[in-house]
Amino acid sequence: MAAGFLQRERIIAPPGWSRWLIPPAALSIHLAIGQAYAWSVFKNPLTATMLEGNPAAGTLTALPFTLGIVMLGVSAAVFGTAVDRNGPRWAMFIATVCFSTGFLVSALGVTLNQYWMVIVGYGFIGGIGLGIGYISPVSTLIKWFPDRPGMATGLAIMGFGGGALIASPWSASMLSAFGATGDDPQASGVALSFLVHGIAYAVFMSVGWLLVRVPPDGWRPEGWHPSEAKTGSLITTANVSANNAIRTPQFWLLWVVLCLNVTAGIGILERASPIFQDYFPDAGTQVAAAAAGFVAILSLANMLGRFAWSSTSDIIGRKNIYRVYLGVGALLYLLITLLGNANQALFIIAAMLILSFYGGGFATVPAYLRDLFGTYQVGAIHGRLLTAWSTAGVLGPVIVNAIADAQIAAGVEGPGRYTVAFWIMIGLLVVGFVCNELIRPVDERYHEPASQDAVDTTGAKRA
């Protein structure tokens, strides 16, 4: 019964179903799982309660988040095919169960003073929810919005960035209200916060799997015909399976493009506050507050870039937009490297644009995959491509932190601490630019047979 309720066949939209119900369904999942990037608010309360006096508390409190991000990439890659096969309601339901259960297991772990349960709960179980939830609405959105796939996926993936904006102040005030912070922090307050998070996110995400529908075969937006679809040399009308996609050079070129674009963004994002304070130590007496403002404005740029640039890609094409991300991104890195701290306004604008390209890279990649491989298993292919994110998540911080720390140890002051790291970022972006230039249409031998009565990438029936 329950399984039937989740099946793809049960959620085929009836005539007249509004496609504008699908973005909020997707957003209710992405705004929730985006909480992952607000994990840091739990670090101090955990350190001050169940890990009090533990010399490895810093590493231990980072573990649930790190494992969660690793599981995001792994589960998206492993379960991507199942997500495409079983449909978005199944995927969103599993994501809801895993993500909420992760919090509930963590609450139990804190109550029983078993920290390993927090790691397994939030990191492993919740991380599976992150991966399945992240890819769950992608192919559905692309099928509902064949006329604007970049805008549709950009909207959902912007939600992932927005999730941390909501969770960060919300979780912090909850921890404070439950007595998990302050002079006498209580573990029970942390446990109660985890419990409330688990229940609240279960309710919030349920709207996603209750609302989501898939379009019937052959559906197309009113007044739109597949012949109006933007055409280009990279946009296929065929379909490629996930297993075949990973055998193509296009998949791996795009993997490198995404990995290097993300690495370049993380390079600034991960160390934004110290970078600002090193560049502008004289930014008034409130330099720490100014640095917090810098982090906030970068988060805003990251989030808005996801929607704005991905929507722009519907007009100028996917390859061109990545030329902007990588080429202009490299020039902006060059600008802040050469400019140093000579002009604060230019520095801020350049950093904002770099972060908007970082977000845009994430949001545009599903539509790029659709152009190259069709809609057949685009969710599964997207899942496998997200391993590039996991790789970049390690690469970016390592490059910037290791080099900056070495420069600090050598006594370098100010912007000079980041010169080498930024030159490396420029090099990586140039390599990414070249890889993007090498992307060509997928060879026909990888295409699925055209005999079946399937729906092509633009929503039209294949012959």
Partner: protein, 46 residues
């Protein structure tokens, strides 16, 4: 094979439930956005 169009339906424009669904996600999003934006003036000495 004929194609099914959105025009087959009786409704044009988003139904009331769509507005509710959007409010469900937009209201928390605006709360988060507000919490973010109030930090920005400090960057400019505010």
């Amino acid at each position: 094979m004929s194609t099914q169009s959105a025009a087959d339906g009786t409704r044009t424009g988003p139904p009331p439930v769509a507005w509710l669904a959007w409010a469900w996600v937009v209201i928390p999003f605006l709360y988060g956005l507000y919490q973010l934006v109030i930090k920005i003036p400090a960057l400019f000495g505010g």
